[in-house]
């Protein structure tokens, strides 16, 4: 076993020092009635090359976005990952380091997290951010818990335009606490209906979540909705695609108390949905209430500026059963990937990234409009995703496109406001004009074939 250094001579010498005859003697005190009396029923160990071969074969049975053309989104995107990101995070100084509880030998990790927090603050327009959460969905549930913990109100509202996967996690995580979760209805334009929301936000509503752009890709009327929420004395929790904050109004600009989201597009592979990178930012009022690790800047005994994990009295290892969250890790390496990515991106790159997404989604919508029979049921402004409608069942078109090497979108038949023919199409800066044209061509071919009864 190459991962265990012990030569037979080492084992003998160590056993002699311990005073044991055999290594099994070290386990002799375990109660007989629970001992496993047979070998583990697992295959014999493999060489590194054999392990690699197993996974190469497994990978070859899959068909990833590198092989296909992907228009899949819904929170996780086929984005460009610069080579520098992987080169840096594979340094063992980052990869194999522990949580930075010993700041004297962890300044690299700590400063990187502080810079991640700083990038998140600048993107969201809020003054405080934590070191990260598991994913966007758990970040949202935790943010709603923060808003609940801030007062006595016991209801939260999530919009029907929220990513349904996020809504499910919110229901699980808030389900154990006597909390009511209500839904704000979607209007005919595919965005949250302000008047319907106004009718729902009563004196028991602690927080309202608002996803922008929403799950259907549409930019919500954030100023109007924020006014409704604030007017009722509730907290506003913004759920945002951080890439969109290159161009879209920042949560801090429309009065959000907390902002959360999924930062996977910043240099992290899709990896079948994990590990991802949830982020959580908040107003100053919530900084001693939010979950997760937080890094602060301070001074050391020699007068140097440096970094430490701070405000730890919020956390489970101190507060135990009084903690509002049990989280005890952060997505460290993925937050590092995103920090490196944003460092490379820079101010002009951020602007270019936003415009690249806007250009490509506009081109895709224009192409869809040219296809007889296909439609855009919600024509309002979008950032990088749009709903496309085909007659009948979208699943038939998605299967048709997949047979031709294109992952054309996510079916929306169960999403409020949508029909069986609707599906969600995403672009990123990676999609080319030719691929977008191919998407339109597939729609044409499918609809022409359907017209002939094929």
């Amino acid at each position: 076993m190459p991962y265990i250094p012990h030569a037979p001579g080492d084992i003998r010498a160590m056993l002699d020092a311990v005073g044991a005859a055999d290594i099994s003697d070290l386990f002799a005190h375990l109660p007989a009635e629970v001992r496993l009396r047979r070998p583990l029923d697992l295959p014999a160990g493999l060489s590194e090359e054999e392990v690699r071969r197993y996974f190469r074969k497994a990978a070859a049975r899959n068909h990833g976005q590198g092989e296909l053309v992907s228009f899949l989104g819904g929170g996780v995107y086929d984005s460009i990952i610069p080579a520098a990101v992987d080169a840096l995070v594979s340094r063992s100084e980052f990869l194999t380091a522990y949580t930075p509880y010993q700041p004297e030998v962890s300044q690299g990790t700590l400063q990187a997290i502080y810079e991640w927090q700083s990038f998140v603050c600048r993107l969201t327009g809020l003054p405080v951010a934590n070191a990260s959460m598991y994913d966007g969905a758990t970040a949202l549930a935790e943010a709603l818990s923060v808003a609940l913990a801030a007062g006595r109100r016991k209801t939260v509202i999530v919009p029907q335009t929220l990513n349904p996967r996020y809504a499910r996690v919110v229901r699980t995580m808030l389900g154990g606490e006597g909390i009511t979760v209500k839904e704000a209805p979607v209007g005919p334009e595919g965005t949250t209906d302000p008047e319907a929301l106004r009718a729902l936000v009563d004196g028991d509503v602690a927080a309202v979540a608002l996803q922008n752009p929403n799950y259907l890709g549409l930019v919500e009327p954030v100023d109007v909705l924020s006014g409704v929420v604030k007017g009722a004395g509730a907290q506003l929790v913004a759920v945002v695609n951080p890439v969109s904050l290159s161009v879209l109004k920042a949560p801090g600009e429309y009065g959000a108390d907390l902002a959360v989201g999924e930062a996977q597009p910043f240099g992290i592979p899709t990896s079948w949905g994990g590990p991802l990178l949830g982020f959580l930012a908040c107003s100053d009022a919530h900084k001693r209430r939010i979950p997760g690790r937080i890094v602060g800047r301070t001074e050391d005994s020699r007068g140097n500026m440096g970094y430490v994990l701070t405000l730890q009295t919020r956390e489970q290892h101190i507060r135990r059963e009084k903690a509002t969250s049990n989280i005890c890790s952060n997505q460290g390496l993925n937050a590092l990937k995103a920090t490196i990515y944003l460092g490379l991106l820079g101010k002009e790159g951020l602007d270019a990234l936003g415009e690249a997404n806007l250009t490509r989604i506009a081109a895709l919508r224009r192409r869809v409009r040219d296809v007889p029979g296909a439609g855009l049921p919600f024509p309002g402004p979008v950032f990088n995703e749009t709903v496309v409608r085909v007659p009948g069942d979208a699943a038939a078109f998605l299967a048709f496109a997949r047979e031709r090497g294109v992952l054309a979108g996510i079916p929306l038949q169960d999403v409020p406001g949508c029909t069986a023919g609707d599906f969600l199409v995403a672009v990123t800066e990676k999609r080319t004009a030719a691929e977008i044209d191919e998407f339109g061509g597939l729609l044409e071919a499918f609809l022409a074939g359907a017209g002939k009864g094929a």
């Binding site: 990978a59 068909h63 079948w272």
Partner: protein, 501 residues
Amino acid sequence: MSDESMVQPGRWNAGLPESIFTKGAPGRRGLTFPRWDGEPVAADLPAGMRRAEPADFPSLSEPEVMRHFTQLSNLNHHIERGMYPLGSCTMKYNPRVNEQIAALPGLADLHPEQPVGDVQGLLAALKLLEESLCEITGFAACSLIPAAGAQGEYLGMFVIRALHLHNGHPERAEVLIPDSAHGTNPASVVIAGMVPKTLKSRPNGRIDLDALRAAVGPRTAGIMITNPNTLGLFENDITEIAAIVHEAGGRLYMDGANLNAIMGKVRPGDMGFDVVHMNLHKTFSTPHGGGGPGAGPICVTPELQPFLPGPWITAGADGGFTLENLPGRDSAAIHSYYGNVGVCLRALAYILRCGGDGLVRVSECAVLNARYLLSQLRDILPVANADQCLHEFVASGVSWKNEFGVRTLDIGKRLLDYGVHAPTIYFPLIVEEALMVEPTETESKESLDRFIAAVRAIHREAATDPEVLHGAPHTTPVGRMDEARAARQPDLSWLGPCNCG
């Protein structure tokens, strides 16, 4: 133009890098995107939806970014630099092949919304991992979804709660937790909608059977036990503990943080547990990454299986796999998708590399290493029940405090000067001046001998020059940090000058 005040000779790696926000210059780019080669198209975004001010990012070229983060990395201790004897953290070597595998095209580039036909190889691998973890722990079913140990605890509590509710027992909401437990345990219980009840343990951290008998009753939902416990000791009465709790109608949850001690020797399922969580970033060698991502799968008995979150990976008769999402199962959703899949793949690579025999060897050598360290240090760092310690031990530094006036914190900080990470200190709370040491199996005898020599050298220093310990560390990039100031005047994001243009 040069400014000589900007430079001065110094030690290698001395000095902290400036903030990234002060680096670069307006107009520099570290990342560009493919040009749009289609017909021009106007973006359809009204001005009122655009942000008023662009986010203030610095502008750096790629070499500047590489240098910034490389300089940061040089300030870290890490496994490939030196030992990490952190009790309960299992800081073992992270095999590089695991990283290669998780990055393979066809695995790393899968989108979670792809049709199931596109991910058959992945599902086969995940199923194999589920089955392997069930065999290692002695259980029937597994959920790989929890993204961390704490989420595994939460899901474990959630399924126990769901079982009691299903059986018409909402009143069963009390969960017993020994006072030696990790802080996540009570926090997880509360978030799952139940009430933690502290169980006083015996001085060696083991469960007091009389206290347990007195504590269980018709409100008992279950008990959370770390076995081996945080003192590295096995619960020898586990069969009786299980009988008492089951008799009272409760279920047993095992915190598998210390699984590295017992693989192939004893299995939680055979001990009477109903749920176990595992930390793949501990026992199964996936990297800690400076704090995550890890993964915390749980294995459960057939009785609890129906309450695991969907989708379930199900093998078909044709050798293919499907994702089943039966009604009701979504109610346990704890992650957007299927948890930290990339971490799960690394863990499977490790299990395949080790094989059944190798995993047994892992536990044997992990215990041997701990027992060897203990045998060489117990004269200066006494350990209770030393002859029964498994993969870790908790020593008490109380004699150092009484004789030399140095605290466990000082010992840990001085170890940093010797190139070793500090052990876990002041935990568990039931041992005074606790110093919790877990070497793991991947440390060689020479490495252990260096650690022993360092501790003995520090012991001599404590006797002759305790100030050296009080002021430690002396050779690290920074000294002890003013944590009180950090908490009192929080500075959580860069507000200083920015080369943002």
